[in-house]
């Protein structure tokens, strides 16, 4: 399931989606089915008192008593329930990740559904909750004094799209003692960083423009005046919640580089912290040492209209996958294309020119029950960003809590095609000023095509999907390649044509995440079948004549799962994946032929609206629902999986036993 929310306007703006009113069941005889169970801690197995257990049916709250607190023994009971198939249970408790029936790891898997017959009592619906991990420490400067009110952020290493990526993790600010604590972490490998972006703005820029306010807006409200240092005649350095550097020494401006635990300025020299479920780590301190800063100047070469309010990012080596807030410096291009980065610490960098900045992010906590304070959230908006928008979506091919986020900026108050022109240059700074850096803008690739809707006459007719979301996904998820898509994500429902902008040099999957029962049947490019083959935008800039055929005649694979004793394996994980090894890597962000689901309380499972083809299907312990994301899992699982060949419109039934894959 892919939920995409597009947000424009203010940074941190969010939409609240309200549940519908309580669904009240009305039937002749009073319903008498019941579900009861216990909520336990995943690490200690101890019952959890005071957890809130919510019962939903088809995503709606069930009746006026759909939420319950567990008693002192962690127990709950929902009674007087009508018979039905799609009940689901979730549990929240302060200090734990959200849990769900059938979810046996700190994942975001939806969990298993429960079906109830008339009067049936399911008395063993156990829900496991996992404690997040946490780390903390002190940020000190070269004299050992605490640095107050600066950002600290964790950067996680995660497997996404079958490759290891850096993921921008949760952040906080140090307190008045220089201490920080970041909690709500899922198990994994982390770097702790103190960001320090040298924000340059033209000296002519007004306070309103620095604050990203139009002059009209600035006339009606108070304009926050950023503290800025005069380090050159043409450019000023704006200080945000980054460490305040020492005053210039011998006329040389000083700067703090981005820093990593324990005292590194490059991620390659940083010490990683490994955290298990619920683990706490103290004394993850970061020490900062000031270094002389150099000026980096040059010119962006490109059409005049592309230079308006263009923000340049100077990104340290190793952090190229990360978005805003991870730079060594940013600046704003003058109308003639010239630019100056002030106060750049020594190091290797990439200059990145883009209107949209994508990265993988993961947030603290579990979201719903543990809202974090958005006002402190990283990254701060760079000065001079006139208008910004962001979009975020969860990742079917990444670990729980990870999402793909794109932030974009506007030029002259109007949003422009986020990735139409891009440029990238690498350079090394070693304490001396660097000038005459040339950054050449290059037009990104485009794709034109059309969608053919091919209803399957054997299926009951389904209305054509209202939206046909078509997009290009980098095969290994690389955020630098962006997520080029049909502009606005909304195609004209009366038109079959689509147009994708912003293809970078790299390999992409063409994907469409359609609402069931619709599924992509085939993709043809100039007569060549590309349904299960990525396309390469490195050499070709323009793709035309692409035909995407969609159908409501997807394949269905279902069955029943038994445990080692032959009993129904309630809540077991089920994994579906293609037989050919080429499909086990570079599968993009939302692979159509790799799917997981959880068995219901009766051990039943179903994958529907799948492309026809040859698949392996395997049942796993519930805790291993995300195990396929690890290296070489498919290879190991294929040896013990059941092979199923299913055609368009067909249903195949397979019965499985739960397997442990070591």
């Amino acid at each position: 399931m892919l939920a995409r929310l597009l947000r424009l306007g203010m940074f941190g703006a969010f939409l609240v989606v309200l549940p519908h009113g309580p669904g009240v069941q009305n039937s002749q005889a009073p319903p008498t089915a019941a579900i009861s169970g216990v909520v336990v801690d995943g690490t200690t197995n101890a019952p959890i008192a005071g957890a809130v257990v919510s019962l939903t049916k088809g995503r709606e709250q069930v009746g006026p008593q759909s939420r319950q607190l567990t008693d002192g023994k962690g127990r709950y009971a929902f009674i007087n329930l009508p018979a039905g198939e799609n009940y689901a249970l979730t549990a929240n408790k302060f200090g734990y990740f959200d849990g769900a029936y059938g979810r046996e790891a700190a994942s975001n898997a939806p969990g298993g559904q429960l079906s109830l017959a008339d009067g049936q009592w399911v008395g063993n619906a156990r829900i496991v909750l996992w404690r997040p991990a946490a780390l903390g420490g002190t940020v000190i400067d070269e004299r050992g004094e605490p640095i107050v009110n600066v950002y600290v952020r964790v950067i996680a290493q995660r497997r996404v799209a079958g490759a290891t990526h850096l993921v921008a993790g949760p952040s906080t600010l140090t307190d008045d003692r220089g201490r920080y604590r970041i909690s709500g972490l899922r198990p994994g490998r982390f770097f702790v960083s103190v960001p320090s972006v040298q924000w340059s703005v033209p000296a002519s820029m007004t306070a309103a423009a620095i604050a990203g306010m139009s002059e009209q807006l600035a006339a009606t409200r108070e304009v926050p005046v950023e503290t800025a240092l005069d380090l050159s005649a043409s450019t000023r350095l704006v200080l945000g919640n980054f460490p305040v550097p020492p005053p210039p020494s011998d006329g040389r401006a000083m700067a703090y580089s981005i820093a990593f635990h324990p005292a590194a300025t490059a991620i390659g020299d940083a010490t990683a912290i490994e955290l298990k479920d619920g683990e706490e780590r103290d004394s993850v301190d970061v020490r900062l040492d000031p270094v002389p800063g150099a000026h980096v100047s040059g010119k962006v070469q490109g059409p005049q209209e592309a230079l308006v309010n263009l923000i340049l990012r100077l990104v340290p080596a190793g952090l190229e996958e990360l978005g805003l807030g991870s730079e060594g410096a940013t600046t704003i291009v003058a109308n003639d294309g010239t630019f100056v980065f002030l106060n750049v610490p020594a190091g290797a960098y990439t200059i990145d020119v883009m209107r949209g900045f994508s990265e993988f992010v993961e947030r603290a906590g579990s979201g719903s029950a543990m809202e974090t304070n958005r006002s402190q959230e990283f990254p701060p908006r760079p000065p001079g960003t006139i208008g910004s928008g962001w979009s975020s979506e969860t990742l079917p091919s990444g670990p729980a809590g990870t999402s793909y986020m794109t932030r974009s900026t506007s030029a002259g108050g109007r949003f422009i095609n986020a990735t139409a022109l891009t440029g990238r240059t690498t350079l090394t700074v070693s304490g001396r000023d660097v000038s005459d850096v040339a950054v050449v803008l290059r037009a990104a690739g485009t794709m034109h095509g059309r969608i053919v809707v091919e209803p399957d006459p054997r299926q009951k007719s389904a209305p054509r999907p209202q939206y046909l979301p078509i997009r290009a996904e980098p095969v290994n998820g690389d955020p630098r390649l962006g997520l080029p898509r049909v502009e606005g994500q909304t195609t004209n429902p009366d038109s079959d044509a689509f147009e994708i902008f912003g293809l970078q040099a790299g390999r992409y999957w063409l994907r469409s995440n359609l609402p069931a029962p619709w599924v992509v049947k085939s993709i043809a490019m100039n007569g060549k079948d590309m349904t299960n083959t990525p396309f390469d935008a490195s050499s070709t800039e323009s793709f035309t004549g692409v035909v995407v055929t969609i159908t409501n005649g997807g394949a269905t694979i279902n069955g029943a799962i038994a445990d080692s004793q032959g009993q129904p394996a309630a809540g077991a994980a089920v994994l579906l994946f293609p037989v050919e090894p080429a499909g086990w890597m570079d599968f993009g962000l939302s692979p159509t032929r790799i799917k997981t689901t959880s068995a219901s309380n009766t051990g039943a499972f179903e994958f529907s609206a799948r492309p026809a083809g040859d698949y392996y299907v395997i049942a796993l312990p519930a805790r291993d629902i995300d195990a396929w994301q690890g290296p070489d899992f498919f290879k190991r699982a294929s040896a013990r999986a059941t092979r199923v060949t299913v055609g368009w419109g067909e249903t195949k039934t397979v019965d499985l036993r739960v397997m442990e894959i070591k």
Partner: protein
Amino acid sequence: MTFTQGVGRAFLSGVLCLFPPALSARLTAQQPRDAGVAVSDTGVIAGVVLSDDAAAQPVRRALVTISGTGLPSSRTAITDDGGRFVMAQLPAGRFVIAVKKAAYIPGAYGASRPGRPGTALALAAGQRAEITLKIARAAVLAGVIRDQLGESVPGVQVSALKIPASGVISNLFSTADVVTTDDRGAYRVFGLLPGEYVVAAIPRVTGMGGIGSRSASEMDAMLGALQRRTGRGGPAIPANAAPAPLPPPSQSFSYAPTYHPGVVMFSGATRLRLAPGDERTGVDFVVAPVVTANLEGAITGAGDALSAVQLAIQVDGPRVPTSFSSSPVLTQRPGESNQFKYTNLAPGRYRIMARLARSETRVTPPRTVGISGGTFTSGGQPPASPDTLYGVAEIDVSGTDVTGVILSLEPGITLSGNVVFDSTTTKPPEDLSRIRLTISPPGGTYMSSGGGTVVGNTFNAVTPTTVRSDGTFAATGIAPGTYLLRATLPADLSQTWSLQSAILRGQDLLDAPLDIAQSGDLSGAVLTFSDRRSELSGTLQTAAGGPAPEYFVVVFTSDRSYWTPQSRRLKTVRPGTDGRFTVMDLPAGDYLIAALTDVDPDEWQSSAFLEQLVQASIKITIASGARVTQDIRVVK
């Protein structure tokens, strides 16, 4: 505290008002700056930043910012390890010098105490000024949030709410310092300015409506009943169909916003007074689910239009950022019957208002949009019309169901009157229909809605009223409530005219909010606009006769009934370096003037404080639109 004695006498004069240059300097800070430095700009301001305490240590990495005449934009310097800074190449002029550092109270050159306004520094051409700036540590609030089981509560938002001098608390959360508890339930808010604070925790739990709960013994009984019915344990289908339904949980709970020391009603919150540098730790409290109650009642007076009746509910205290889990839920709305029912009411004082807009008004569908920190809903409100009916009830709820609440619909109130123009020289404007009157509750109106429940005082929104060309006006369909009145003039008129008084039944609506109850229309209001602004000016002198810029001047009405926060009859001003002070727009009346070495912005408008000043004040009278000069001399 220093008291004053008057010298000289009040007389009418034509002295011009001079704004301190510091004010205009701030405005120029937004202009583009000129990179060039004039040859004559050789002035220097240098100095040291020291901690404002007995030890007085140098403060390193403080940001010293100067702005002023002759500087196109502000300049900032960073203090070195000795706390020292240098600003060179300055033109002659007057400069405001500010200093800040994280976890410290922002300071200013010439400030009498931490957080107080400073004075400008006059720098001659080529002069080098050596100054000392003091900066004091801000206060800290810290504690641990636990739940009803004594376990720490991570991930909960904790807000330090500063009680404003005005006492208006409805918008407290909008300016709060907000932190989130860590995995040990600990929070720490730093950088707090001196003042009075309330600490609030807002737990958020997924979903809407109440949370049922059974005790361990009730759970044992429940599971026992299930076992008997299904025949021993585990999943089974009963042999005997259609057994009787089992009892639902007896009580419903919700996680409500909670104030230190662990109460859900704002009125029970502890007020913590913080001085500079205070580190108040151990501000621990428990966030526990609270027993919720249902509220049932009926609408009367709706005739056959029951389904058109709208309901809104509001709880006493500051507006809490939306948390649907702890909000009331309207589970039964009037329509088929005149009955309504709310569930999930945490303890508190609720105000429920019903509205029936009878006339054919176009209602724009509500549109909920996200904004930073919450949601608001626009549209959905038909403008009040003369025949809009309202019913209101205020009910205290504390864990027990309330029934029998009657919302009796009565017509909205009409406020009518006329505008007059008081001038001997200027002709009144010809087109009076360009004047608009705005009537709104003191904290504004707000609304959030979810699942069909409207929370807020949105029915108190009054459509702006346009004055008729004959100078009469009538604002119709006003719901019961408390309101402030403002007049909006087009730009060309507002330069000349300002609203001097708004008299209704002998009361000036500009001095006290208008309390509208459902007791008949209010007519005969007289709104007087004048082209003369009163002006009180003078010089504050030392006993020796020199200027006394280090003092504050307080001007306050001698009528104690106006000693209310934000009264337009209470003003304070800091004299310029030449000792001159000016106070504009005081309404006609008798006033007292005092001079003080320090004025606490949170406290000076209180009756207790003003009472202390009476004896040592000079009495003056300001006539309508008069210009009054009053020099004062400080005697130690």
